[in-house]
């Protein structure tokens, strides 16, 4: 560990801090806006730092922030605050949704899509699969879209749960969750339908009644709240079991003391995200389109991953740069202050490329060269111009040295 600490210190020193920094890696971690940080600060040591279930002033202040945030969350999805559970992360909320509901339904078949987040795929396959549940993955088309009819064809009398995300986290595909829920329940009315809506929150309208789902996951960090709070909405009447045990406080599905500073940050992030969601989403989409056109229009051998137009989340841009490897590109761009991530195997724990890229039919070489940008209202046209310029030069440099372009391999 000491080696790693000294190595990373030397690496950071050699890297230096670029004059201009543009952060696009909102998929992997938020950059928390100043307003949100400010809103959090009092809750560490001025107010609301108490345990919400203890009878003293800091405790009641904690109740105020926890419950008002719960109400704010509910308001964004047309739900009641009583049905909202705070969890330590979106990953925890998805685990609770799948495992907590299936423990009550009893064994059966679980239908998910091939492009779900790992926090859905892994609890389905690893946790529930090992307990005897059968997990089936619905395929997607080249845009990453699940066909509701194909999905419904996988639902049968033994099916206990369907889980399909609202927006894909890597390629921005907006799924037809309403139809999926409707068709699945037509086949088997007892089927529970869960949607991981984390990547749609703050970008497209979400209404639990309109969607017709039973369980819905959100994640604070996807609207630039700090890391550390996820949300599960559970429809009245859906039986759930806790998957983590401990002392309960304001809520019954997740134990432990509520993290009030993070929750205060979430309340502010909701205010910022929802005061003019449509206008903001439109402006961000415009900026995203400029970035997309600037890159696709000026480089050969590039592929847009995910759909164009209204089926794509406004913040998402994912492009494969052929003949270059994505990790090298992330590092090259980092030295210019442009922070992105890649679906390349080289960045993964097990040297496997992104399952989303493979599911939409990308070849391995295409997956290795994929770069994900997520934009926010804090990005500017200057940022986008600076990014286009540097992406072009980075790709040019790496292609020039590439062993699979003009070299031995034709």
């Amino acid at each position: 560990m000491t080696t790693r600490i000294s190595t990373v210190k030397a690496l950071l020193e050699a890297h230096g801090r670029p004059e201009r920094e543009v952060y696009y890696d909102l998929e992997n971690s938020p950059r928390v806006p100043e307003e949100v940080v400010k809103a959090m600060l009092p809750y560490f040591n001025v107010k609301g730092y108490g345990h919400p279930s203890i009878t003293h002033r800091p405790g009641w202040e904690a109740v105020e922030i926890v419950e008002s945030t719960r109400e704010a969350v509910a308001g964004t999805i047309n739900a009641e605050p009583e049905n909202i559970t705070f969890t330590p992360s979106g990953t925890a909320a998805n685990n609770l949704a799948l495992v907590g509901s299936c423990m009550e339904t009893g064994k059966g078949k679980i239908v998910i899509s091939a492009v779900e987040h790992e926090s859905v795929i892994f609890p389905a396959i690893r946790t529930l699969g090992s307990l005897g549940y059968r997990v089936v993955q619905a395929p997607v088309d080249e845009d990453g879209l699940v066909d509701p009819e194909i999905l419904a064809s996988l639902v049968d009398k033994s099916t206990v749960l369907v889980s399909v995300q609202l927006v894909n986290h890597e390629i921005g595909t907006i799924q037809k969750v309403r139809e999926i829920a409707e068709y699945a329940k037509d086949v088997n009315s007892r089927v529970l339908v869960h949607t991981d809506a984390a990547d749609g929150w703050g970008w497209i309208p979400i209404d639990v009644e309109r969607l017709g789902v039973d369980l819905l996951t959100l994640s604070g960090r996807k609207i630039q709240a700090p890391r550390g709070v996820g949300i599960l909405w559970v429809r009245d009447g859906v039986k759930m079991r806790r998957i983590v045990e401990g002392p309960l406080s304001t809520q019954s599905l997740w134990p432990g003391v509520e993290n009030t500073p993070i929750i205060a940050g979430l309340r502010e992030a909701i205010k910022l995200a929802f005061e003019d969601m449509e206008g903001r989403a439109g402006r961000v989409a415009g900026l995203r389109d400029r970035l997309m056109e600037g890159i696709l229009g000026q480089l050969d051998d590039v592929i847009l991953n995910g759909p164009r137009g209204a089926m794509r989340s406004p913040d998402n841009l994912n492009i494969s740069f052929l003949h270059v490897e994505g990790e090298a590109l992330t590092i090259e761009l980092s030295t210019k202050g442009i922070y992105v991530s890649s679906g390349s195997a080289c960045t993964s724990r097990v040297l496997e490329p992104s399952h989303v890229m493979l599911a939409i039919g990308r070849k391995y070489e295409e997956a290795h060269g994929s770069i994900l940008f997520k934009l926010t209202k804090y990005h500017t046209m200057e940022d986008v111009k600076y990014t286009i310029e540097n992406v072009l030069s980075a790709v040019e440099r790496l292609r020039k040295i590439s062993a699979i372009r003009g070299g031995l391999v034709e």
């Binding site: 990373v8 396959i125 089936v136 993955q137 040297l351 992104s354 391995y364």
Partner: protein, 178 residues
């Protein structure tokens, strides 16, 4: 994606930004490749060999890389080490551990990059004797060395991995129990 911290040394970053001996060599005596595009790691090594006093010297060495920062830095180190050595010394003295040490160490999941770089060099040396000279010197073993075997194993491992993916995607997905 499940990820792991990839903390490179400052040396890797430096060689990634300013690699030595970069580019295709038009007058190369021999060239060889290790890795595969599917695995996201390919290194081409070019050697310019000259005979002096009955010995074969590496006059120039260069590389091309399709791969991550570790891949590029490892290829830079291998070509730098090989320059000026006889083919025999290059064969006997350059190993992946030395390359990794020159880089100040590589993250465990990136060690195969140094293996691939050395594997490409050894392939080039073997190929030089097999195809240019038409004989095998005594010091050149008939069997693959551990470096070459590891390079092959790295290629095969990734190949196996991708065959598995391919098989999975070829199955009729709707009926495929994951």
């Amino acid at each position: 994606m499940s990820r792991v911290p990839l903390v490179y040394t400052s040396k890797v970053l430096e060689l990634f930004k300013n690699p030595k001996n970069l580019g295709k060599m038009d007058d190369a005596s021999v060239s060889a490749q290790a890795g595969s595009p599917a695995c996201g790691d390919v290194i081409n090594i070019y050697l310019k060999v000259e005979s002096r006093d009955g010995e074969e010297y590496i006059e120039k060495a260069s590389f091309e890389s399709y791969g991550c920062a570790a891949n590029i830095a490892a290829a830079s180190v291998v070509t730098e080490l090989a320059k000026g050595l006889t083919l025999k010394d290059a064969w006997l003295k350059i190993g992946w551990k030395q390359v990794s040490d020159e880089l100040g160490g590589l993250p465990p999941v990136k060690r195969h990059c140094s293996v691939l770089a050395v594997g490409a060099l050894k392939r080039a040396i073997r190929k030089y004797y097999a195809e240019v000279k038409g004989y095998k010197p005594e010091w050149l073993p008939s069997d693959l060395t551990p470096d070459e075997r590891q390079a092959l194993e790295a290629e095969e491992m990734i190949d196996r991995l991708y065959r598995r993916f391919r098989n999975e995607s070829e199955k009729d997905r709707p009926n495929n129990t994951a």
